[in-house]
Symmetry: D2
Subunit: 421 residues, 4 copies
C-alpha cells in the first residue's frame, strides 16, 4: 500500500496549483463582480468575460488542458489535446488535480475540465462514432464550444430514471424528440452548441433498454430554453441551469449515440469517473473553505481572544480536518477501484465505492463550508467570500447525479447482497 | 399546567390564518415572480409591489394589525393601532400568531409585524421620548414608513458588541456619527425613512455604558447606502440588507434614545421578545416546509412507490415532526417566562431560555427545510417553491441577533453558575 | 397557556425531592456496593437489601406512595393507598414527580412507582375483575409483592407484536400456556409473585383480536425462570430481566384479563401513561447526569483551567441544557394531551405525542449522560458514579416498549395521514 | 498511489483470518460462558481458561505470533519470536492483521498481540536495557507472562499528563514509588507480573522532563491491587482494569526505563503505533458488528418484511458501510505516515493523523455497533452476542490513551499552526 501520488500526478498537480495561484486567483473576484454588475444592471451576463478566453489559451499553452482525458480512452486525443507524453491519466492520477481545480469555481472552466463538458466529452470519446467525434468532440476538446446534458425532468421524480417521460422516437432516417428537461447545466452560455438528450424510445422494452441518447444541436428547430433556474439565489453564470423544451425536434438518426435503447449502458460508463471528479472538486472546495475559516478565526477577535480560541471553534476545526481527510481517502480509493476495473468491467466494490463517495463527500463539504460561513459571521453569507456559492454548489451535488437516498440504496443493496442466500 | 392558548390568542391566530389563506397565499407567487422579473430586466425591484399596499390596508381594516404590540408597553397605541379591546397581547398570546405569519415571507409585512420594524417600534414605545414617538413611532405603526437597525459592522467580529468601532460623539446640541454598518435590514426599501444607529460614545466608560443609540433619518447628509448585500444569492427584496456608511453625520442630541451610554440597556429590552418572534416565525417556516415535503413525498413516485414509502423518508418525516414540536414548546415556554418576568425584571431562567431558543430553532428549521428540499429534488433548490429562500432565511438567523456560539455561551454560563461556589 | 404546575403537583414534587435528599441519596451508594459485594462473592444478590423495606415503610408513612395512581382510575384505592385527599393525580400532575424519582435508580422502588409494577397495577386497576384486584392488586399497592410482564420473545422480532409465538389456549375451565418470553423485568426478585402473560389464543382472528393476557402466578408448575439476562454487563439487581419458559402451564380461565382476544385493547391502555412515566424518569436521569457532569467540569482541572473552560465543553453543556428542556416540555405536553383525552378516548395527536417522546427522550438522555461520562473520564465508566448504569438504562429504553423505529413509524403514519386523500 | 496490501501482509492477514475461523470463533462463546458461570458462582474468573493456552501454543506454532513486532525495532526478536523471514512488519503491513484480530475479543490474546502488552513490549524493545529485555521482554514475547501500564490516576484529570501526582523518587541505588493508579489494564490476570509505572521525579523540571517510567514487579512489597473496576457492567476478565496503590515501593534504579525524567519521550514513541493498532482493531469490531447486524436484518421479519427492508434500516446500513470504509482508510493512511517517518522522526502530519484516527474510529465504531444492537432488539444488549461488550470496549477507547477532546486539540493546534504568522 502506498499513498504517494505518481510523479506525473504530483507534478501536474503542482503545476495546476501554481497556474491557479498566479493566473486565476488574482482575477476571480473581478470576474464575479463583473457578472454581478451585469446582472444588477440588466445586461447580458451569460457571455463569459473575455478574461476567461485568455486564461483558457494560457492554460492550453501550458499543457494544463483536458487533463481529465482518461488513460484508457484518450487514444489519439491525448497527444493532440493537452496531456504531455501522449496518454491520458488514470483516475487516481487525475484525482488530486481535480481537487486542486475544485477549490475555485472558475478553474475547471479555464482548464477545460468542467462538468458537464467532461462527462459529455467522455461519452463522445467512448461511444461516439467517428463523424460524431469530429463534429462535436474535437471543438469541445479545443474549448471552442460547450455542451449540456438533458436528462432530468421537472414533472417526475428523476431519481428513478425509468420515470422519464420525454421521448426519442425513430421516424425513418430521423429521430423525433419531445419533452421537457431541466437542470440542463450550461445552456445559459451562448457557447453551448450541443445537447446530449436522453429519452424513451420503447416503453415496452426491458427496464434498462428503453432509453436512447441523442445528440441535439441547440439551434435545432423546436428546442427552446424556456428559462434559467436559480439554485438558492444563484444563476451560476456563465453556465447556468436551464429548463429546455423539445417540441417535435427532428434530428438525423446518425445523431443517436451507440444505438437506440442503449442510453443506460452509456450512462453507467459516464457516471463513475464523473462522480469521482465531482467529489474531488468538492474536496477542493472544502479545503478552501476550511482555509478561509481558519484564517478568519485567527484574524478576528471577540471577548479578547481570536475566534479560534473561543468555545468549540477549535474542536470544530479539528473535526473538519478529520472529515476532509477521510473523505479524500474514500474518493481516492474509489478512483483506484475504478482503475482496477478497466479490463474486466467495474466490480461491485467499485460500484459501491462510487455511490459511497457520492453520499459522503457533498455532505462533508456542506458541513465544512457551513462551519467556515459561521466563522465569518454575516460576511460568510455574502459574495465577498466564495463560501455561500460553494455551499450551494455542494448542496446541489446532493441531488445531482442521483440523490443521497438513491446512492445509499445502491450501497445497501451491495452490502445486503453479501449475506443473502 | 395548561397547553391550551387563551381564547383571544386562539381567535386571532385563526383569523390571521384565514386572512393568509384567503388573501396572501393566492398572490405570493405572483409577487415573487414580479420581483424576479424586475431583477432580471434591470428594473427597480426595491419598491414594494402595489398589491402589498392593498393587503396592508385590508389587514389593518380587519383588525389584524400591529398584533406584536406588547401588552405591558402598548399603552394608548393598542387601541388606536389594530388590536381590538384596547390592549396588546402577552408574549405567549402573540407567539402562535407569529408562527402563523412566519409560514409566509410576505405575511409579516402585510400585518406590519416584520423584523426589524417590530423591534424598532418596541424600542420607540419603551424608550422613545414623546416627540420621538410622534415623529417616528406613529407613522411606523400606521405602516407608512419603514425603519432599519444599524448595529453590525463589517470590520469587526460583531458577536462581541464591545468590538464596535462606529462612533456617536456629542458635539454641542448635536451628535456626530461616523462609521460603517452592514446587514442593516430594510434599507433597500424606498419607504425606509429612519435608522436606529448604535455607536460608541465613551470608550473609557464601563463595558456596558459606552454605547449610544441614535435616531438617524436616512436622508441626513453623510448617510450613504453603499451597496445591497446578498445572502446566498438572495437580495431579499423589497427590504434587503444594506451596507451603510456614516460620514460625519450630524443629528440633534434630542435624537438620542434614552440617553448617551444607554444603548445596552435598550438592546437588552429589545431582544428578548424579538427573538421569540424570530423563532416562532421560523417554526412557521418549518411547518410549511414539512407540509410541502410531505405532500411532495405523497405525490411523487419512484421505483413504484411514493417517495414517502422509500428508504428512510418516513423516519425523517417523523423526526421532523418531533423536532418542530419540541422546538415550538421551547419557544412557548420562553415566551411564558418572559411574561412572568414583567414586574420584577427578567430572570436568569428567562435569559437562558431566550438564548436556548435562539440556538435551537434556526438549526431545527434548517434541518426540516433541508429535508423538504431533498424530497423535492432539484425543484427544492429553485424558486418554484419557497424552500430555498426559507432555508437561507433560517441560515441567516443562526448569525443574526448573535451567533449560535454566543448564545450557547450564555446558556452555559447560567448553567455553570448554578454550581459555582 | 400556563407552564406552572398545579399547587398539588408542586407540593408533592417538593416533598418527594426532600425525601430523596434526606433518605435515599445518602444510602444509595451503600445499597449498590452491597449488591456488588454479594455478586462478587457469589452470594444471593436478588433479595432486596433490608434498607429498602425500611425506606418503603417510611415513604408510605409520609404519604409518598403509589403517586402514579391515575386520577381517572384510582377509585377507592386512591384514598387507601397513599395519595392524600382521596384521588389520584393527572398525568401532567404526576409527570414532575416521576422526573424527580427518575434521578435515582432506587427511588421508584421506594415509592412503589417502578416499572413494570406501575403498568401492571394500572392494568389490574382498569381491567381486572374484583377477585383479581383483591388477590393481586392490593398486595401490589401495599408493596408486599412484585410483578412482571411477559410479552417479548427471544425467537421473533417482537417489535411487531403479531409475530408473537407463545400461546394461551382455553381448555375447559382452564387456559394452557406455552412459549418462551424474555426481558421479563422483575423476575429475579424473590418478591415477584405474579406474571402478566400475553399469548396467542386464536391465530385466525383479526390481527388485533388474536392475543390474550393471563395472570400467571410465578410458582405455577411449568413456569421456569431459565436465566437472568445482562444488559451491557448489568443484571440490574434486585429486579433483573429474565428469560421465562412456560411449559404446559395451566391456570383457571378466571385468570384471563378482560377476556380472550382482548390483549391489544389492554396493551393500548397500559402503554400511554407508562411511556410518559418512563420518559419523565429518563429526564430525571439526564438532569442528574448533567449536574454531575457540570460539577465535575468545575472541580477538575487540566492544562491550567477547569474542564468547563476547555474546548467545546461549555457549548456541549449548553446543548445538553437545551436538549433536556425541550424534551421535558415535549413529555409534559404529551401528558397533557393524554389528560385531555380522558373522556372521548385518545386523539391521534396524543398517540403521536406518546411515540414522539418515546423516540426523543431516550436518545436525548443518552447524549446527555454520554457527555457526563466523557467529562468524568474513565471514572464515568465505573460504578463510582451512576452514569454508566444510567446510560445502559436509557439505552434499553430505545428498545423497550417498542424500538425507536416503530415509534417513528407511528409518528410518520399520522403525519402522512394529514395529507392523504 | 496503490491501495493493494503487500503480498506478505495479504498472506498473513489471510492466515490469521483462517486461524480465527477454524480455531477461535468456534470456542469463543464457550470461553465467555465459562467466565460468566464462574462469576455467577463466585469462583475465580481471572485465571485464563486452559483453552486459551492451547490456542496460544497453536498460534505460535503456526507462525502467527507477535506479528505486531515493528520492522524497525524487531531486531533479533523477529526471527526468534514468530514472524517468518526474520524481520517485523511495517505499520501499514500490520494494520490489516490488527483489523482481522480485532473482530474478536479473544484473538489478540491468542496471537500475543493484545494491549497493553504490545505497547509494553514495544517500550522494552525500543528503550529497555539488555538486562531489562532479558528479564521481562523475552517472557512477554513468549507469552509466559503479562504486563500492565500504570499511568492514569483517579484523583486528577489525567488527560493532562502533567497533573500526575504519583512519584518516583531516586533514593541511593533505588527508586521509591508512591501513589495510586487506576485503569491499569491486565492486573486482574494472575499471569500479570510486571508493571510499567509512570510518576513524577522532579516537579521543578521542564514540563516534559518531570516524569520517569519504572519497571515494577507486581509482587514488590507495597504494591496492592485495591480493586477491579467495571466499565459499564463489565470486568473484562481475564485481564481486567485495576486500581493499584503504590505505598513506599522500592525498586532498584536499574529498573528505570531510559533514564529519570524521560517518560514523555518514551510515551511519545509508544503511542503512535499503539493507537493505530487500537483503531484497526476497532475497525475489525465494527465490521463484525455490521455483519451481525446485516445478517439479523435479513433473518428477522416484522410487519411482513425482513428488518432490512423496513424504514431507514437499509440507509443506516449504507451509512455504516461508508463510515467503516472511510475510517479504515484514515487509519491505513496514518500507519503509512508513521512508516514514512521512520528515519527522520514523526512529521506533524503524522502526529495529526494519529490524533485524527483516535477521534474518528472509536466514535465510528460506536455508531456502527449501536446500529447493530438496535437491529438485534433486546438481544443486542445481552451477552448472547458480542455487541454489548464491543460497544463498551469502543466507548472506553474514547477515553483511553487520551480523550477525544485532547486529540481534537492536537489536530486543531496543527491545523491552526499552518496559518499562524
Amino acid at each position: 500500500m502506498d499513498f504517494a501520488p505518481s510523479a506525473r500526478s504530483a507534478e501536474l498537480t503542482a503545476r495546476v496549483r501554481t497556474f491557479m495561484a498566479d493566473e486565476i486567483t488574482p482575477v476571480e473576484g473581478e470576474v464575479h463582480r463583473d457578472i454581478a454588475r451585469r446582472r444588477e444592471s440588466g445586461e447580458d451576463r451569460w457571455t463569459p468575460p473575455p478574461i476567461l478566453s485568455d486564461l483558457k489559451a494560457r492554460a492550453r499553452a501550458a499543457g494544463l488542458w483536458n487533463l481529465f482525458l482518461p488513460k484508457e480512452h484518450a487514444g489519439r486525443y491525448a497527444a493532440d489535446f493537452g496531456t504531455d507524453g501522449g496518454e491520458g491519466l488514470t483516475n487516481i492520477e487525475y484525482a488530486p488535480i481535480a481537487e486542486a481545480m475544485g477549490s475555485s469555481m472558475l478553474a475547471p472552466l479555464v482548464f477545460n475540465c468542467n462538468a458537464p463538458d467532461t462527462g459529455n466529452m467522455e461519452v463522445l470519446l467512448r461511444y461516439g462514432s467517428e463523424p460524431q467525434r469530429e463534429q462535436w468532440l474535437e471543438p469541445l476538446l479545443r474549448g471552442e464550444i460547450r455542451s449540456a446534458f438533458c436528462m432530468t425532468e421537472p414533472d417526475v421524480a428523476s431519481s428513478d430514471a425509468t420515470n422519464m417521460a420525454a421521448t426519442a422516437i425513430p421516424d425513418g432516417d430521423d429521430v423525433i424528440i419531445n419533452g421537457t428537461k431541466w437542470f440542463s447545466t450550461g445552456v445559459g452560455n451562448p457557447e453551448c452548441k450541443i445537447l446530449i438528450f436522453m429519452g424513451v424510445t420503447d416503453a415496452t422494452a426491458d427496464r434498462h433498454a428503453r432509453h436512447t441518447m441523442v445528440l441535439v444541436p441547440i439551434d435545432t428547430p423546436g428546442v427552446t430554453v424556456d428559462r434559467m433556474l436559480t439554485t438558492m439565489g444563484y444563476f451560476d453564470e456563465p453556465l447556468g441551469h436551464g429548463e429546455v423544451s423539445f417540441d417535435d425536434v427532428r434530428v438525423p438518426a446518425s445523431n443517436v449515440l451507440l444505438g437506440p435503447g442503449r442510453a443506460f449502458e452509456i450512462a453507467q460508463g459516464r457516471l463513475g469517473p464523473g462522480r469521482v471528479h465531482h467529489c474531488m472538486r468538492a474536496i477542493g472546495l472544502a479545503e478552501r473553505a476550511l482555509e478561509l475559516g481558519v484564517r478568519r478565526s485567527l484574524e478576528r477577535t471577540a471577548f479578547g481572544r481570536p475566534l479560534a480560541k473561543l468555545g468549540g471553534n477549535s474542536e470544530r476545526i479539528a473535526d473538519a480536518r478529520i472529515a476532509i481527510n477521510r473523505s479524500r481517502l474514500l474518493v481516492l480509493h474509489a478512483a483506484w477501484l475504478l482503475d482496477q476495473g478497466r479490463a474486466e468491467g467495474i466490480s461491485a466494490e467499485a460500484v459501491s465505492a462510487v455511490s459511497e463517495i457520492k453520499v459522503e463527500v457533498p455532505n462533508m463539504a456542506l458541513d465544512v463550508i457551513d462551519l467556515a460561513i459561521q466563522l465569518h459571521g454575516g460576511a460568510g453569507l455574502t459574495d465577498d467570500f466564495p463560501l455561500a456559492a460553494s455551499w450551494v454548489g455542494a448542496r446541489a451535488l446532493r441531488l445531482a447525479d442521483g440523490p443521497d437516498e438513491v446512492h445509499r440504496g445502491v450501497v445497501a443493496r451491495i452490502e445486503l447482497g453479501k449475506y443473502r442466500g
